[in-house]
């Protein structure tokens, strides 16, 4: 078996030093090269904190996070950003730059001391914009784009980093059905054709089950279960994690598990 690209070993994290409430408790899992790995769980289960740990925005209070065998504690921010690209949910409102300027920002970790981007940086940004279909929008301001377009632009910025690992934080949170389908197709293509390793953090259980090779279900900052979608998307497991009744079904076309919420009758 190949060495893992990401290895979390008994990771613990608390936002305030000495706080009783740990955002992450004793979390261990591995992500293998080339797989699409989903992270699911209820609100406040630690998913966003996990994204921050993987991108070294915060550092583990205990345990280790390893990228390609190296403990992130010993890597600079730019070194981590050459391995891991995070696709955020959105950019701040009023962001003053154009699509191309934003995508070029993804080149910063490649050469942080460079003042202006090199021709190679521009070529990489162009390839990234082509891959997500936003090249025609390159002169447009971010504020003028639809939600789906913004999503693809942020994906292009992440690809411009030329990372080995792509971390997506709730990619479908602001998208309607058409853009969700578009996003799913794009992620499949990147995973299969470009051989990228993807960590997909999502509220949308069906979306995660459809796209991911394996899932990690988190609750209260700890891992409840890790495994293929069929083993994690399980009625009893989900009901204990989310505290509500669900029905698990199979998608009529893909045969992947889907989840129906059992709405309480009055």
């Amino acid at each position: 078996m190949t060495a893992p690209l990401v290895a979390c070993e008994r990771v613990g994290f608390a936002y305030a030093a000495g706080a009783a409430a740990f955002a992450i408790r004793d979390l261990s899992f591995e992500v293998r090269p080339g797989e699409t790995f989903g992270v699911i769980g209820p609100n406040a289960s630690g998913k966003t904190t996990l994204v921050r740990l993987l991108s070294k925005v915060v550092e583990a209070s205990s345990g280790r996070v390893c990228l390609d065998g190296a403990d992130v504690a010993g890597l600079s921010g730019a070194q981590v950003a050459r391995h891991v690209a995070v696709v955020p949910q959105d950019v701040p409102r009023g962001f003053p730059h154009t699509v191309e300027e934003l995508v070029l920002m993804g080149r910063y970790p490649r050469a942080p001391r460079r003042f202006f981007e090199s021709p190679e940086d521009r070529a990489a940004a162009r390839r990234a914009m082509e891959a997500t279909g936003v090249l025609a929008l390159r002169e447009t301001l971010l504020d003028r784009l639809s939600g789906g377009e913004r999503q693809r632009v942020m994906l292009a910025r992440a690809l411009a980093q030329e990372p080995r690992l792509l971390v997506l934080d709730e990619p479908t949170a602001h998208l309607d059905l058409r853009y969700q389908a578009e996003c799913a197709g794009l992620l499949r293509r990147l995973g299969r054709e470009a051989g990228l390793t993807i960590v997909l953090v999502s509220h949308d259980l069906g979306f995660a089950a459809e796209l991911c090779d394996r899932l990690l279900l988190m609750a209260g900052g700890a891992a409840i279960r890790v495994g293929p979608p069929e083993s994690v998307i399980d009625e009893a497991v989900l009901e204990s994690a989310y505290g509500c009744r669900v029905l698990v079904d199979k998608h009529p076309i893909s045969r992947r598990p889907t989840v129906h919420l059992v709405y309480p009758t009055s």
């Binding site: 991108s55 701040p92 962001f95 300027e101 070029l104 003042f115 202006f116 980093q161």
Partner: protein
């Protein structure tokens, strides 16, 4: 709206050469203008070293140092403004709006209470006191305004105003309690006054400005990334804490150098970076270097106006910048702020 093509080294070089030529032309023009009537031929003769006496004193000892001080102060204030704006992600942030100028002014008055005045060592001491005042005021504004890791725009501006009022009051107390025999000078200086500046002071001023510019100008690229928010910048490998400390220290140093040697001139840091952004786009790698020269040109024009418009008396240059800046601030608050999600 069409936007200028994206930044590159060659385009920036062309722009800076053009701006430098414009600054040189304005500076030469300012040498020929003033309340003392020196005929243009005599100015040229002084510059060629062929005339001594009153004309030489007026041109070389009064006008030339004043022109240099205006260029330094304008560039320093404009870069400090651009730095504070990038740090706070707020187009209205600026040394005087944030109260940092008032803090530095308080430091200067305290230094004068302790008897520091004109010489080289004293100039360094005054600048150090101004820097301490600027840091205290900036830190106070940050602590008052921050909410859950962010700096909401309205609380930031209000905190800046409050801290500014506090330090102005403290300055008034010091001036009232201690009998300054040069009280008239203090009042003039508090409005921002590019009066006669001693060569030693000018040298210290230039050195401090150079350090401040060095701290900020090279950080223009990561400052662009800060527009993604702090976490967004960190995800791209920016050491956000270190960047913020460095740029804050640089902007405070530039502000305090200006306050120590020419007084708390307002609004230059607001007007100049904003006009440059309107003309050249938001890229800090263009805005900040252009602000060095653009700020100098603006303040030199304002000062030349200030010393000629009511000649033989003269206005404080701060009056001119405030008359330009206040309407501009209102315009920005009403038109630009809503787009920036303020």
């Amino acid at each position: 709206m069409t936007r200028p093509p994206s930044a590159s080294g060659a385009r920036l070089a062309v722009l800076l050469v053009g701006l430098a030529l414009a600054v040189a032309l304005i500076a030469i023009g300012a040498l020929f203008l003033g309340s003392a009537r020196v005929p243009p031929g005599d100015v040229l003769a002084v510059l060629a070293g062929r005339v001594r006496g009153v004309d030489q004193v007026v041109v070389l000892s009064l006008r030339l140092p004043r022109i240099l001080a205006a260029l330094l102060a304008g560039g320093a204030l404009a870069v400090a403004g651009a730095g504070f704006q990038a740090l706070t992600r707020n187009p209205l942030a600026e040394p005087s709006v944030l109260g940092v100028s008032s803090g530095a002014a308080f430091g200067v008055i305290v230094a004068q209470v302790f008897g520091l005045s004109g010489g080289l060592v004293d100039a360094v001491g005054i600048a150090a006191c101004a820097f301490a005042g600027a840091l205290v005021a900036g830190a106070a504004v940050y602590v008052i305004a921050s909410r859950g890791g962010g700096l909401p725009v309205h609380t930031l501006l209000l905190a800046g105003v409050i801290v500014g009022i506090f330090f102005s009051a403290a300055i008034t107390v010091l001036i009232s309690v201690l009998d300054f025999d040069r009280l008239g000078g203090v009042v003039h200086w508090l409005l921002g006054n590019l009066g006669p500046i001693a060569p030693a002071s000018l040298a210290v001023f230039a050195a401090l400005t150079a350090v401040g510019l060095w701290l900020i100008v090279g950080q223009a690229r990561p400052l662009n990334l800060l527009a993604l928010g702090e976490e967004g910048a960190q995800q791209l490998g920016v050491d956000a804490e270190r960047l913020k400390r460095r740029v804050f220290a640089g902007a405070a140093l530039l502000t305090s150098a200006v306050v120590a040697f020419v007084g708390p001139i307002g609004f230059v840091g607001l007007i100049v970076p904003q006009v440059i952004r309107m003309l050249l786009g938001p890229d800090n790698r263009v805005v900040i270097p252009a602000a060095v020269l653009g700020g100098g040109a603006f303040l030199l024009l304002a000062d030349t106006l200030a010393r000629n418009v009511v000649a033989p008396a003269e206005l404080s240059v701060g009056v001119i910048t405030a008359f330009c800046g206040a309407p501009f601030f209102i315009y920005l608050l009403r038109s630009r702020a809503p787009q920036a999600g303020l």
